[in-house]
């Protein structure tokens, strides 16, 4: 419950406070958000499986974000940033879908 509240407070804070993202960070934010979403879905699935571990969640969340940003950064440096970030989004999207499928089986038993 507190976790859900944290998400809501985060969204509201983002909309109300309107923080300015540094220009250097700007290209990485969307990918980082998608990566974090993947980690959150994974964590939700783990919780439904009953194997949730907050340490694992923290590590997977942070490493997902960092690795995704790193890939985009590397892609930009190599001149294939657009393609690479598309690839990252596709991979993360597939993982989110499979996690969502598992969550669905738990919640709806279908």
């Amino acid at each position: 419950m507190i976790a859900v509240l944290g998400l809501i407070v985060g969204v509201v804070a983002g909309l109300v406070v309107r923080p300015v993202v540094p220009t250097v960070m700007e290209p990485y934010l969307p990918i980082a958000v998608v990566a974090a979403l993947d980690a959150v879905f994974g964590g939700l699935r783990a919780m439904l499986d009953g194997i949730f571990n907050d340490k694992v969640f923290v590590v997977s969340f942070l490493s997902n974000v960092v690795v995704a940003a790193l890939i985009v950064f590397l892609g930009d440096k190599l001149g294939v940033g657009a393609q690479l970030s598309t690839g990252v989004v596709v991979v993360l999207g597939i993982r989110i879908f499979s996690n969502a499928a598992a969550i669905r089986r738990h919640v709806f038993r279908a």
């Binding site: 419950m1 507190i2 976790a3 859900v4 509240l5 944290g6 998400l7 809501i8 407070v9 985060g10 969204v11 509201v12 804070a13 983002g14 909309l15 309107r18 923080p19 993202v21 700007e26 290209p27 934010l29 969307p30 980082a32 958000v33 974090a36 979403l37 993947d38 980690a39 959150v40 879905f41 994974g42 964590g43 699935r45 783990a46 919780m47 439904l48 499986d49 009953g50 194997i51 949730f52 571990n53 907050d54 694992v56 969640f57 923290v58 997977s60 969340f61 930009d76 001149g79 940033g81 657009a82 993982r95 499979s98 996690n99 598992a102 969550i103 089986r105 738990h106 919640v107 038993r109």
Partner: protein, 327 residues
């Protein structure tokens, strides 16, 4: 998430079966996962049941089971997850979800997740807002921006060229319309001048009134012609005699029954002459001139200067039948 899976399922069984002896957990889990339908409590292999010295074996089994489950969940997750629901009556994913949601409990896990989800929500909101507010260029990549900039530069150069071309055209048209206006002005001026000469327009200006009284009926057409000639020689520009305009083609006929251009003109003869009065008057009054000649015939001549003489008798323009401009 996938890094959690291999450990995950084995650990799941450990947590889910707290009543079993710890030594047998792994076996139970492994056999349950491999065998699928076997109940968790019943051992897959009786030989390993309850044996305290089989930790290493059990560990290996657990790993094998983990791998099997990982593969299974990748390929057909339902097969791997199906027995779980049957094995653990009472604790389903749905119940875990409900328990986690309500009542709210302040635990370390919840707080950690809350912090991370706060960060996620923040990033999500910022990104959504900047994407929806910043316009299409906000999230564009550097090379796209460079390309767009190049295109805009090209377009602006093209438009600049077109603007210059159109401005040149506009100048040209303005010049030519100025020239046309000037030509029209000059033409109108010329038309007025020629109109004054041809007698098709009225004229006014300084000049003389001349009245020739002829009580004796002695004044003949040639005397009037002399008068007209004298006035022309002195620079008269427009002449009217008794409402008849005298122009280049005018002619006088008759002796005492004077006709100018075929129109009968009766005495007294009133001349309206536009020209320099200082030149006209002496020209008439010179000794042996027009005035003396007329007075010799007993005619009375009155000459008066005026600053404003109006010559408003008009002639109709006549298209020449034979004479053509040679230019």
């Amino acid at each position: 998430m996938s890094d959690e899976n291999p450990r995950g399922v084995g650990g799941d069984k450990r947590q889910a079966l707290p009543a079993e002896e710890p030594a047998r957990d792994a076996h139970a889990a492994a056999s349950a996962d491999r065998g699928g339908a076997e109940p968790a409590g019943s051992p897959g292999r009786p030989g390993s049941h309850g044996a305290p010295g089989h930790d290493e074996h059990a560990g290996r089994d657990e790993r094998a089971a983990g791998e099997a489950v990982t593969r299974g969940s990748d390929e057909e997750p339902e097969g791997a997850l199906a027995p779980e629901g049957g094995d653990e009556p009472g604790v389903t994913g749905r119940q875990r979800l409900a328990a986690a949601l309500w009542p709210p409990r302040v635990t370390r896990a919840q707080l950690t997740v809350a912090v991370l989800l706060f960060v996620l929500g923040l990033g999500l909101a910022i990104q959504v807002r900047s994407t929806s507010e910043g316009g299409p260029l906000r999230g564009a990549r550097q090379e796209d921006l460079v390309r767009i900039l190049d295109e805009l530069d090209d377009r602006s150069a093209r438009l600049q060229g077109e603007k210059q071309r159109l401005e040149g055209q506009q100048r040209e048209l303005e010049n030519s319309s100025d020239q046309a206006e000037e030509a029209r002005r000059q033409t109108r001026q010329k038309a007025r001048q020629l109109g004054v000469l041809a007698g098709t327009v009225g004229a006014e200006g300084p000049g003389l009134h001349i009245t020739v009284r002829d009580p004796g009926g002695a004044v003949e057409a040639d005397m009037l012609l002399d008068t007209i000639q004298e006035l022309r020689a002195a620079g008269a520009e427009a002449i009217e005699v008794n409402d008849v305009r005298v122009v280049a083609s005018s002619y006088l006929q008759g002796a005492t029954d004077v006709r100018i251009d075929g129109k009968a003109v009766a005495p007294p003869y009133r001349f309206e002459v536009i020209g320099e009065p200082k030149d006209l008057e002496p020209a008439l009054n010179i000794p042996g001139g027009v005035v003396q000649t007329l007075e010799k015939e007993q005619a009375g001549v009155e000459v008066s200067r005026s600053e404003k003489i109006t010559v408003d008798a008009l002639r109709s323009t006549k298209q020449p039948d034979y004479a053509r401009s040679s230019q």
